[in-house]
């Protein structure tokens, strides 16, 4: 497959600005959910050794 031209690279790099915000929100929501379950559900059941 041929490598993209500089013009094509520039066009591909010009992504919608809201994408970072959307990806960040989704990532934070996933992380928050994980933290809530780990510290809110798992750890309160007590350590097991």
């Amino acid at each position: 497959m041929a490598q993209p031209t500089p013009e094509e690279r520039a066009r591909m790099a010009d992504v919608p600005r809201g994408t970072w915000a959307l990806m960040g929100i989704i990532g934070l929501l996933l992380l928050a959910g994980w933290i809530l379950l780990y510290f809110g559900r798992f750890l309160p059941l007590g350590p097991v050794r």
Binding site: V15, G27, L30, W34, I35, Y38, G46, P47
Partner: protein, 171 residues
């Protein structure tokens, strides 16, 4: 190799999330001693019933000093004894052995979960929270709560029926 900028961003976000999660797990392991139970003790599976510890009349719950020790044997497709009583808020040790194949063990409402591997004794140390088991268990007339202890490792055609009762008494 060309990677689309959006793919790179998703990849970095995923890497950052995994790094935070691993960091938190490592922190709780080091600072709070939260880690999977690790215990290696061999036992002869075929002669389990002839051992002093896992003979049928020695199974169940006993108080040994400040600790309550529960001994169970898992075999297709039952748990012996079928009901044990454990106190909440007290350090307990659960020792389990398999009489035949690989089993798993989980007590609802707690973090007790381990494989029971034939040829080895599984041992877990924990303290049961009465509030936690109350949320998932069945309340009894005497104030205790009953939760299931079930096999969570496929062991055969009767695996879904393999479970016991744990009656948790308040401290």
């Amino acid at each position: 190799m060309h990677v689309h900028p959006l793919e790179k961003r998703w990849a970095w976000i995923a890497v950052a999330m995994v790094a935070v999660m691993i960091g938190l797990v490592v922190y709780t392991a080091v600072a709070m001693s939260i880690h999977p139970p690790s215990h290696i003790e061999a036992i002869e599976t075929a002669r389990l019933h002839l051992t002093k510890e896992f003979a049928e009349d020695n199974l169940g719950v006993k108080r040994e000093g400040d600790t309550v020790v529960a001994r169970i044997v898992m075999a297709r497709y039952h748990v012996e004894p079928p009901e044990i009583t454990l106190p909440a808020g007290t350090p307990i040790v659960l020792r389990a052995a398999s009489a035949d194949v690989l089993h798993g063990l989980h007590v609802a409402g707690t973090n007790i979960g381990t494989q029971v591997v034939p040829g080895y004794v599984s041992e877990v140390h924990t303290t049961i929270s009465f509030d936690a088991v109350s949320r998932v268990g069945v309340a009894n007339a005497d104030g205790s709560v009953t939760v299931p202890l079930y096999c969570n490792e496929y062991c055969g055609l009767g695996h879904q029926s393999m479970w016991a009762r744990v009656r948790v008494t308040p401290k």
